[in-house]
């Protein structure tokens, strides 16, 4: 396996700047990455507890560029869920923020750099790794499912190149972090920008904090990415009136933005001579599959665009036949070198090779118009996107059933989930349980008590009948 990036060519150029005024050049990043990889010493599995901090990016860079396989998880992941993941995959090392070290008593510290520590787990089991396996990422849901997406080095490199091409990235770019780096969209921003020698602006502050905007202005951020909810927040903040002279590009992914917001931001961008780029992707395709060229943002409102360079879309009807007529709904199938190897559900799966052969059935239902622009119109399976995270409704039902042994049916629309139960006494407990397991903000879902969960004769839940309880 080769290196993803040749960091050395960018020499003294700043690779990272954080909100506290610290920075790291590409030279130093390359050196520190080598030192860390040397401490680990061999190809193995490492859990990286991610934050938008220098130590976190350094760890990721070191691992992926030196044949060490990271499992990317959020540093705030519930301790029980993390424990389960660790048990399932048995990594040799953990790369964790120093202030979380006490969470892992009994492990020895092997190295320390930029606020992060390398801990040796001492676990007895070691699972063999497929030679092309580059990194593992949780399927964006936070329900603690042990399911990981297996991404290869070729996947990461190909997708980063494609993104850099269609966004026309160069070394003058200064993207500011607005998404976690354990999330493929956040990670793709790092991957594509390191390729061109750009400068990443790191902060874990949110759009709702003054410090974020001060850093944005001082460090002269040129771009940011956002999920639909990010744009709702920006709208609420009356972003259009903010003075941000350094801003050039806004990208959007992680679910379908409302046509209203699409129009607002596209028009704003057009007036200001900026780019608003709606994109489409999934962890199973490394990150990106489609993008709407910014010059079409106003005209093609509601569309997620065309395939990225090197990719191909087709629509398949219920009989598996390719759809050739515009405005006809079918399942969206993507082909490209960024289609990942497959999933892992247990440690033994890490040796598995490529199970997809460059073809991904996305599970999204779509149409294309007469000009060949694609529109997502629905989903084949039951999941919602809540603040950009995929929440599998069947998984939510299952978790609740296992914990409480009750009748339950979860449904809803993006950013608003509704969990139906029949026992009023447990409603509060179900709510607390879902918050603790998924880390969803309580405003994003409701637990509703009804007399009976509607079912058909064969006992299948009739989710459609539940829409009357929450449809506006």
């Amino acid at each position: 396996m080769g290196k993803i990036w040749d960091l050395k060519v960018h020499k003294r150029k700043k690779a990272l700047i954080d909100e506290f005024g610290n920075w790291m050049t590409y030279d130093v990043l390359d050196h520190e990455a080598c030192v860390l990889a040397h401490k680990i010493g061999h190809r193995c599995l490492v859990f990286a507890l991610c934050r938008n901090e220098m130590g976190s990016v350094l760890g990721y860079t070191s691992f992926i560029n030196n044949g060490i396989v990271p499992v990317m998880v959020n540093s705030h992941l519930d301790e029980v869920l993390l424990e389960n993941l660790l048990k399932t995959y048995s990594p040799q090392f953990l790369w964790v923020p120093k202030d979380q070290k006490q969470q892992f008593s009994g492990m020895t510290t092997e190295h320390e750099a930029y606020g992060y520590v390398l801990l040796k787990t001492g676990y007895g089991t070691t699972y063999p790794l497929y030679e092309e396996l580059g990194l593992l990422i949780t399927t964006s849901g936070s329900t603690g499912s042990p399911k990981l997406v297996r991404q290869s080095y070729a996947n990461v490199l190909d997708n980063a190149r494609s993104i850099a091409e269609y966004l026309k990235l160069d070394d003058k770019e200064r993207p500011i972090t607005t998404l976690p780096m354990n999330y493929v969209y956040g990670l793709s921003i790092i991957n594509s920008h390191f390729l061109v020698g750009a400068t990443l602006l790191l902060t874990d502050k949110t759009l709702m904090q003054k410090e974020f905007w001060s850093f944005f202005k001082e460090a002269e951020a040129s771009s940011f990415g956002g999920v639909p909810y990010t744009y709702e927040m920006l709208d609420k903040l009356r972003f259009y009136r903010m003075k941000l002279p350094s801003l050039r590009t806004m990208t959007q992914a992680g679910g379908k933005i409302t046509p209203d917001l699409h129009e607002k931001f596209a028009s704003y961008a057009a007036e200001q001579g900026r780019n608003f780029v709606v994109m489409y992707g999934a962890a199973e395709a490394t990150s990106r599959m489609g993008y709407l060229p910014p010059e079409k943002a106003v005209e093609k409102k509601g569309s997620m665009g065309i395939p990225i360079p090197g990719g191909k879309f087709t629509l398949i009807d219920a009989d598996g036949q390719e759809i050739t007529d515009p405005l006809t709904t079918g399942e969206l199938v993507y082909e490209g070198k960024n289609v990942t190897l497959g999933y892992a559900k247990r440690g033994e799966d890490l040796i598995k090779g490529d199970e997809r052969n460059g073809r991904l059935e996305t599970g999204d239902m779509a149409q294309f118009d007469a000009d060949g622009f694609y529109y997502i119109v629905g989903r084949k399976k039951r999941f919602l996107k809540i603040y950009g995270n995929r929440v599998n409704l069947d998984e939510i039902d299952r978790l609740i059933k296992v914990e409480f042994g009750i009748e339950v049916a979860s449904t809803g629309v993006d950013d608003h989930m509704y969990i139906f139960v029949t026992d009023e006494k447990v409603a509060g407990a179900v709510r607390d349980f879902v918050i603790s397991k998924t880390k969803l903000n309580p405003v994003s879902f409701k637990v509703l008590v009804i007399d009976e969960i509607p079912k058909n004769d064969s006992g299948k839940t009739l989710y459609k009948e539940l829409t009357k309880y929450y449809a506006e």
Partner: protein, 80 residues
């Protein structure tokens, strides 16, 4: 209900905290007060007091006390 009661009610309902948690409560102290919760909080405060908050004030409202200070400004004129 006086303004302080109204203000407290919004915090308690949106962030799901009890009376005794209010004093000194800061952004991100609790899981419910993240950026999503913050949006909810701002909308609820705007509804409760029938105001439209400025961008700078929305991002400056970083604690229970700071919120009162902001709402008490001439722009909004909420008396506590």
């Amino acid at each position: 209900m006086n303004n302080l009661e109204k203000y407290d009610k919004v915090f308690k309902e949106v962030l799901e905290v009890s009376e005794d948690q209010l004093k000194g409560l800061k952004y991100q102290d609790i899981e419910a007060w993240d950026s999503v919760g913050h949006m909810g909080l701002i909308s609820a405060l705007e509804d409760a007091f029938d105001i439209m908050m400025d961008t700078d004030d929305i991002i400056d409202l970083s604690s229970y006390e700071k919120g009162m200070e902001i709402l008490a400004k001439d722009d909004y004129g909420v008396e506590f």
